[in-house]
């Protein structure tokens, strides 16, 4: 996986998020403050722009540039969380990027989210999509399946994890303020994490 692969991943994220912007905002309206789609769309559009203006020369640079933009431009909870995820993933990445290296770096990113957000799976956050995605990816790589297949499994796990947040009672983020009323709604951050993984599975390689 080279620099272009990572660039394509971020291009895919930006596109999917733009497409699903209003849906993400609606999810956030139900149990949050109706800005998740707007926040991420603004952020990922700028990520793309920054990557175009200062073309990175390594996968690590792609991730660090994206992290920078997300942290510096998004605000809210998701900006620092996704920004930190990509930063830690970038730092953990060894060149050249192997499937196992990718999976381990991704896991480092997910751990960073948990640390920063003081959250655990089951709290009804993006972690409920990211953590199963990471597990599925690591396992698929250990099983030695094709990388494409591994990414697809991760995307499926993320999607399932996002849907599995519906019955959960939120313990972190704004949804936690609703108490019992947070039950019955998909977490917007988990939904956007599923999009990030879907973009990974769709990168043409």
């Amino acid at each position: 996986m080279d620099t272009d692969f990572f660039l394509a991943w971020f291009a895919g994220m930006a596109e999917l998020i733009r497409l699903r912007r209003d849906h993400l905002t609606e999810l956030d309206a139900a149990i949050g403050d109706a800005d998740h789609g707007t926040n991420l769309d603004r952020g990922f559009a700028e990520v793309r722009q920054a990557l175009a203006e200062w073309p990175p020369t390594s996968p690590e640079q792609v991730l660090l540039s994206a992290s920078n933009t997300l942290i510096r431009r998004v605000g809210g909870a998701s900006g620092p969380l996704y920004g930190t995820a990509f930063r830690q993933m970038g730092k953990a990445l060894d060149a050249p990027v192997t499937p196992a290296g990718f999976a381990a770096a991704f896991e480092a990113g997910v751990r960073a989210v948990a640390r920063l957000g003081k959250a655990a799976p089951g709290d009804k956050t993006m972690l409920d999509a990211l953590a199963p995605a990471s597990r599925a990816l690591t396992q698929a790589v250990q099983e030695g399946v094709e990388v494409r297949e591994a990414f697809e499994r991760a995307a499926r796990a993320a999607e399932e994890g996002a849907l599995a947040t519906i019955p959960l009672l939120a313990r972190k983020g704004r949804a936690s303020y609703l108490g019992e009323r947070s039950i019955g709604h998909e977490d917007p951050g988990a939904a956007s994490s599923a999009l990030i993984m879907a973009a990974l599975a769709s990168v043409e390689s």
Binding site: T25, E26, A29, A30, I31, G32, D33, A34, D35, T38, N39, R42, I71, R72, R73, V74, G75, G76, A77, S78, G79, P80, L81, L116, G117, R171, K172, G173, R174, S176, Y177, L178, G179, R181
Partner: protein
């Protein structure tokens, strides 16, 4: 949705232009609003910030005796670290900077990142979490910061103006927060410019209890009732958490689209309940101060005063939204 705006994505920018034009004592640049006379050498500086849509909070509280700078984010979206770093460096007068942060994951994370990255400035931080509608627990995001933010900013601002050192200003700011509790009730949702329709649907005849300031639904929905009963619910929630005693500072706050006449109706009920408990409204404020765009409804914030806090509350303040004594 009908709003007096030019475009959904320029609201914050356009409003800041208006703020700058209306208040020559403020400077606005790069999404930082600061006192024109900053930095003030030797004075501890106060920086706050958060999503826009809560006006006059925070930028309307920048000025003598209150904040030195505010960092307005996008609508309901916390500011980014760069803004906070800029603001912190712009107003530091060598005595350090206090960050006043409402307890929301986004605000906390962005202020933390800024505090880590800022160079050559001593930074202390106080978290405001006064909303009793939210259960306080180690395992959750904790309580939200709402109306008490105004109290913390005013009282800590007065202390900083007196020349107190950073640790002392931070201590008193935390004390104000600990002595304050809030509860809010919404008659309508609000509409963010980007979403273009109400964040939640609230049928005629129903109200949301325990709302915050971001258009998020509350803890429960109940039938609309006379002001007297709604106030009783809010005051019971507050009293259950922090008994109403002695001298109180009371804010009856509109959510942004609440007519003043209704807030005075609410205040009369609040005052009657306070009196009924043998306590006293020693100081008060009635108006739309910590808002949620065009939401209708109110919140009550109560702070238990002592002599020092009363003196600091009474100290001169000169900001767009709060002004007395000069």
């Amino acid at each position: 949705m009908k709003k007096l705006i030019n475009a959904a994505d320029s609201v914050v920018e356009d409003a800041l232009a208006g703020l700058a034009a209306a208040h020559p004592a403020l400077r606005v640049r790069n999404r930082v609003v600061h006192r024109a006379d900053a930095p003030r050498p030797g004075k501890v500086a106060l920086v706050s910030g958060g999503g826009s849509g809560h006006e006059p909070l925070h930028a309307g509280f920048v000025g003598h005796g209150m904040l030195d700078a505010a960092c307005p984010g996008e609508i309901f979206t916390s500011p980014v670290p760069d803004q906070i770093i800029d603001a912190t460096q712009a107003v530091d007068g060598g005595a350090g900077v206090l960050h006043i942060v409402k307890n929301y994951t986004g605000d906390v994370l962005n202020f933390e990142m800024a505090a880590e990255l800022v160079e050559d400035v001593e930074v202390a931080s106080v978290l405001v979490d006064d909303d009793v509608a939210v259960q306080d627990s180690l395992y959750t995001a904790g309580r939200r910061g709402t109306g008490a933010t105004l109290f913390v900013e005013k009282i800590a601002g007065a202390l900083a103006e007196e020349g107190a050192p950073l640790a002392e200003v931070a201590r008193v700011a935390r004390e104000v927060n600990e002595r304050s509790r809030s509860f809010g009730i919404a008659l309508t949702s609000c509409t963010t410019p980007a979403a273009g329709r109400p964040t939640f649907d609230l049928p005629p005849g129903e109200v949301e209890l325990g709302i915050g300031i971001h258009g998020e639904p509350g803890r429960t929905r109940v039938p609309l009732a006379p002001a007297r009963e709604l106030v009783a619910v809010a005051m019971a929630a507050i009293h259950g958490d922090l008994p109403l005693r002695d001298d109180l500072l009371v804010l009856v706050n509109g959510m942004g689209a609440t007519p003043l006449i209704e807030l005075y109706v609410v205040f009369a009920e609040v005052e009657a309940i306070v009196r009924g408990k043998g306590a006293r409204v020693a100081r008060s404020l009635v108006g739309n101060y910590v808002t949620s765009l065009d939401m209708q409804g109110f919140s009550v914030t109560v702070c238990r005063l002592d002599a020092t806090l009363t003196r600091l509350w009474d100290a001169p303040v000169e900001t767009p939204a709060l002004r007395w004594g000069r």
